[in-house]
């Protein structure tokens, strides 16, 4: 884990987020917010044959929440639902590779929470 939470990998995902944008006709669309920060995120999923065929997100927030959403979408795109559901918070956090204080943890996990929420019916 890196002490430098603004390391290049994070910044790159922040400035050029993967899978950013609206999706037409998603299988499911879910939003969540962290009102304390004014952060919010919407996740769009296309689910077919037990797989996440496609994923998009929109939203706003700090570098950590945006980068985290970008990285999360990459982690689950094209993956089996079973696998995605088995992912824990720590899987996302180790993918981020940075050491976060409790307050920033909330930023990092917003997208994860929205995704879990979106998948709760599947």
């Amino acid at each position: 884990m890196s002490n430098d939470i603004y390391m290049e990998f994070i910044l790159e995902n922040y400035r050029n987020p993967k899978n950013y944008g609206v999706m037409d006709n998603p299988t499911v669309k879910k939003s969540g917010a962290n009102p304390l920060c004014g952060d919010d995120i919407t996740i769009y999923l296309k689910i077919e044959n037990g797989k996440i065929q496609d994923i998009r997100f929109t939203g706003k927030g700090c570098a950590i929440s945006q980068a985290s959403a970008s990285i999360l979408t990459e982690m689950v795109k094209g993956k089996d639902l079973e696998y995605v559901k088995s992912l824990g918070e720590n899987d996302l956090l180790s993918a981020l590779g940075i050491e976060l204080s409790p307050a920033r943890l909330k930023c990092a996990l917003l997208s994860y929470k929205v995704l879990k929420d979106a998948l709760s019916g599947f």
Binding site: Y6, E8, L36, C37, T58, C62, A63, R104
Partner: protein, 420 residues
């Protein structure tokens, strides 16, 4: 005013964070405590601790005496008699007490006039009265962050039963002309409530001069302990009101079929009070008085002026609220708004801010510069300003120009860390 000497009185400021001198710029959220206040707490528990008002033995009488002398001392600090001082937990409880107890006098169709720059604590308790059809009306602000007096006059009317206004905005720093607003409120037959959470700690406040029927403030924001706050109220108003909470201390007689109440102010203090808190806040008041509230105000004005000067160096930063240090308290909220860079995230650009305040706070913290970031419990104001959040630096007696310099040095690093 010798800031170096004052800093010596605050043990926590000696703490090194990341090996660096702590630059605490969040006194608007809560203040640090001088040795004198900590000592008063320790002395209380080591020598005088007892329950008050009911003990016949010496210790309890001494504790009662300390508690009531503290009430007197704190009352004097705002020009009030001790029997109009109710001890509560914080500003929030004080305002809820009024909402619950005075709120009984309001009926469907009545209006409460407030401002768009209020802290949630001066909004939510009044929204509760919506249950019985009381309407909460918000006065707008001008572009410079001052209150829009025309709008205020437009919105006040026969239905207005309560006007409740913050003395100093915890985001914009705006100092409202409460004396003037009080006159207008009283001319319309409304009572006038002042949220003094950000004024009483930072400038001379006299309840008579500002024409307040009620004044609420928190001990923890003025060098005192947590868990103690004050509601000042005009005696006749306090006397007319039903109690808020019921239990020990606040009663005269309790029978199975009903009860009668103690006199004001005890009527509003249910249960064992926070004697430690009262004694600690009284010590805080002594400390502030020894400096002089005019001095405190001038010192903060000086730091604001200096900050505005240094702000000239970083023209990517915009601040909110009045530019004139005479019209603002020692609070500066800001955002990065004018960065010429292709590397700004699209949504932030759309919102007119370039770097999220959370990232600013985290990066400043790396240099142990502590600022707040977020909505500052003023979401309606954030909506009005059309921003999701801001960063905020705030000053108190233990801050000096070095702290301002540390702030700006750290701010200059933000773009570099984010590589934008």
């Amino acid at each position: 005013m010798d800031v170096n000497k004052i800093r010596e009185d605050f043990p926590i400021l000696k703490r090194k964070i990341n090996g660096k001198r702590a630059v605490y710029l969040d006194s608007t959220a809560t203040s640090q405590k001088p040795r004198a206040v900590i000592d008063a707490i320790v002395n209380y528990y080591e020598n005088f601790n007892a329950n008050v008002h009911r003990g016949i033995y010496r210790l309890s009488e001494e504790a009662t005496d300390l508690y009531e002398k503290s009430r007197e001392n704190i009352g004097r600090f705002i020009g009030a008699r001790s029997d109009s001082i109710v001890f509560v937990r914080n500003t929030t409880e004080a305002l809820n007490l009024i909402s619950y107890s005075y709120g009984r006098f309001l009926n469907e169709g009545d209006e409460i006039l407030t401002t768009i720059m209020e802290h949630h604590s001066n909004i939510v308790p009044w929204q509760f009265l919506g249950r019985k059809g009381v309407k909460l009306v918000f006065t707008d602000i001008n572009e410079d962050g001052t209150l829009n007096i025309d709008d205020f006059i437009n919105k006040i009317g026969k239905r207005t039963k309560i006007v409740t206004v913050t003395h100093v905005s915890n985001v914009l720093g705006t100092i409202n002309d409460v004396r003037e607003l009080s006159k207008i409120a009283h001319d319309h037959g409304a009572i006038f409530i002042v949220d003094g959470a950000q004024s009483v700690p930072h400038m001379p406040v006299d309840v008579e001069k500002i024409g307040a029927d009620f004044l609420a403030f928190s001990g923890h924001k003025m060098l005192g302990p947590m868990g103690i706050g004050v509601l000042y109220g005009k005696r006749d108003l306090l006397e007319s009101m039903d109690p808020f909470m019921g239990g020990g201390e606040m009663i005269s007689e309790v029978h199975t079929y009903g009860s009668t109440w103690a006199d004001v102010p005890l009527k509003f203090e249910a249960g064992t009070p926070n004697v430690e808190g009262a004694v600690g806040l009284s010590a805080a008041v002594d400390y502030l008085r020894s400096i002089g509230m005019e001095e405190v105000r001038n010192h903060e004005k000086g730091l604001v002026s200096y900050s505005l000067e240094r702000l000239g160096e970083i023209n990517e930063i915009n601040i909110y609220g009045p530019r004139d240090p005479e019209k603002r308290g020692g609070v500066i909220s800001f955002n990065f708004r004018n960065i010429r860079s292709e590397r700004i995230s699209e949504h932030l650009r759309k919102e007119g801010i370039m770097i999220h305040p959370h990232d600013v706070a985290t990066i400043l913290d790396m240099d142990s510069v502590m600022v707040r970031s977020g909505h500052h419990c003023a979401q309606p104001l954030m909506e009005r300003l059309n921003i999701p959040a801001s960063s905020r630096a705030s000053f108190y007696i233990y801050n000096d120009r070095d702290d301002v310099d540390s702030l700006f040095d750290a701010l200059k690093k933000v773009r570099g860390v984010l590589k934008i």
